[in-house]
């Protein structure tokens, strides 16, 4: 299988205190046309992992070790300009808050077109047609291209974000909690859209979420993170159906099910000391 992304031995620390590790020696890989979900609680390091792949870590943080091979190229060796070309080009990104990631004073058509001009040098009629095509791909009528973000609902804004992120037909899409701020029915629509686009474009998707329901809907592989470390990594059916690590089991026991048959069980952290010993 075509291996698209391979993260090996990635560690991230606070720049001022290098022994304070936020992400510890994590490794995973991603194939074209597949979805890998990273799940974990807040503070487990899932978003940091995504940010460091795109070279967007803030200055207070530092990658202290590891390689990020993307299409045979080590992203950690590239400078800012080269990374900028890859971001939005071969790697698309969607963030959690569609309200804050769009520029409120520019039309959505302009913002989608900006990516295309920047990366592919598209202009004029060609650009307009492509923007219209993208809007239709994500289910927004193309006559809305001149709308401003505040004229759209949350779900529509997230669709615009998706149109921007897939504009240059990226090989990989990184989605950081893209549906967390949305209503459950809208969430289902957006997940469906991402799933379809992924299939149509043979895109790989790195999907960050804390919702196991979402994981079971879209993931092929699952990475479970806890306090900066990967505690479990495998096929979705294995991890959800037959978790091997106590943390995964405990986390799954916290998720309420729609049938109400399962008794909720909060995490008992007593095993963590054993975990640290191992």
């Amino acid at each position: 299988m075509n291996q698209l992304l391979k993260v090996s031995d990635l560690s991230i620390s606070v720049a001022a205190e290098l022994d304070k590790q936020l992400v510890k020696n994590i490794s995973f890989s991603l194939q074209s046309g597949k979805t890998t979900c990273i799940v974990g609680e807040s503070g487990s390091g899932k978003s940091l992992t995504a940010l460091s792949i795109m070279g967007l870590l803030s200055k207070q943080l530092k990658r202290v070790s590891g390689q990020i091979d993307f299409q045979g190229e080590d992203l950690t060796k590239l400078d800012g300009l080269a990374l900028q070309k890859i971001r939005g080009g071969r790697i698309g990104m969607i963030f959690q808050e569609p309200m804050t990631s769009l520029n409120p004073v520019l039309t959505i058509g302009y913002q989608i077109g900006e990516t295309l001009t920047q990366h592919l040098g598209m202009k004029g009629k060609l650009l307009k047609d492509k923007v219209d095509f993208l809007l239709e791909q994500v289910g927004i009528p193309s006559n809305r291209a001149n709308s401003y973000p505040d004229e759209l609902s949350g779900g529509q804004r997230q669709r615009v974000m998706i149109a921007m992120s897939i504009a240059c037909e990226p090989a990989m899409l990184i989605a950081d909690e893209p549906t967390t701020a949305l209503d459950v029915t809208v969430q289902a629509q957006i997940l469906k859209l991402l799933h379809e686009l992924k299939g149509r474009m043979n895109m790989a998707m790195l999907f960050i979420t804390h919702d196991f329901g979402v994981v079971s809907d879209i993931a092929d592989d699952v990475v479970v993170m806890f306090r900066g470390e990967i505690v479990e990594y495998g096929k979705v059916n294995d991890v959800l159906g037959n978790p091997s690590h106590p943390y995964t089991k405990a986390l799954l026991a916290c998720v309420p099910d729609a049938d109400g048959k399962k008794a909720l069980k909060p995490i008992d952290y007593s095993w963590i000391n054993e975990f640290k010993g191992a």
Binding site: E41, A188, F212, S216, A258, P266
Partner: protein
């Protein structure tokens, strides 16, 4: 079945929005909403953002004025009561808010936050109030020493425990929980849900539980009312509604619960 402790009949509430030069636009936030809460049970209100859930909560507690309709608590009509009478009754009607970061005064110590209601209602002497606050904090999983701390020293889940302690220290009868776990991690969410359930049976509380998460509702509620565009489109026992939804909107809502793969 238990007796009805809290009920609302034909509530209406309209927001007026200034619609630029075209004058004023009216938005019906509540349209003929009626509901009953039984003593010791949990009624969940579910719906999407904008469906009127939070407006309903605020109108029920008389924090927002209603256009029309009546609200009964233990047989007493709350509409038209003056401030003093309302304040006396509010002791029995408490609220737990969604955002544990925004709903605690950052300049007060936890002891003051939790004890404020006791002071306002003049319940007990200072030392009785203090021991009540300590007992409540310990009951929700915090410690006596936490009384001297400020809210920012706590995590989200702990702050929600403080919010619960603040509501329950007055020994209320009805607690309105407005999305109490939606800002929390799933592990913390489970802890808080279980805590709420335990406290309900210990203190014989009736919950009005507002949520958009149908998985959470399935666990905590006895009855459920589904809201859509300011109206209650379906209500009944949780088991019945989840197994046999009648309304088209309820069906869509249930279908959209992640983890079914029905969407594809």
């Amino acid at each position: 079945m238990n007796e009805i402790i809290f009920s609302a009949v034909n509530l209406n509430k309209t927001y007026k929005q200034n619609d630029g030069r075209f004058g004023i636009r009216e938005i019906k936030a509540l349209e003929n909403v009626s509901l009953h809460l039984r003593s010791g049970s949990t009624l969940a209100i579910v719906g999407e953002s904008g469906s009127g859930k939070s407006t309903l909560a605020r109108c029920l507690l008389q924090l927002l004025p209603l256009d029309s309709g009546v609200v009964y608590f233990e047989g007493k009509n709350l509409i038209g009561l003056d401030k003093k009478e309302l304040r006396q009754i509010r002791r029995y009607l408490q609220m737990v808010f969604q955002d544990p970061f925004a709903s605690l005064n950052p300049r007060l110590k936890v002891g003051q936050i939790v004890g404020e209601g006791l002071v306002i209602h003049g319940l007990g002497s200072a030392s009785e109030q203090q021991s009540k606050v300590i007992r409540m904090l310990e009951r929700v999983g915090l410690e006596e020493s936490d009384m001297e701390k400020y809210p920012h020293e706590f995590s989200g889940g702990q702050r929600q425990r403080i919010g619960i302690a603040r509501a329950l220290v007055l020994s209320p009868k009805v607690v309105v929980c407005d999305e109490p776990v939606s800002a929390l991690d799933v592990s913390i969410q489970a802890q808080i849900l279980l805590l709420l359930k335990e406290l309900q049976s210990e203190m014989n509380l009736s919950y009005l539980f507002i949520s958009h998460d149908l998985r959470v509702v399935r666990h905590i509620a006895d009855e459920v009312a589904v809201m859509f565009q300011g109206k209650i489109v379906e209500q009944g026992q949780v088991v019945d509604i989840y197994n046999n939804p009648n309304n088209e909107y309820t069906k869509n809502l249930l279908k959209a619960i992640p983890g079914n793969r029905v969407a594809y």
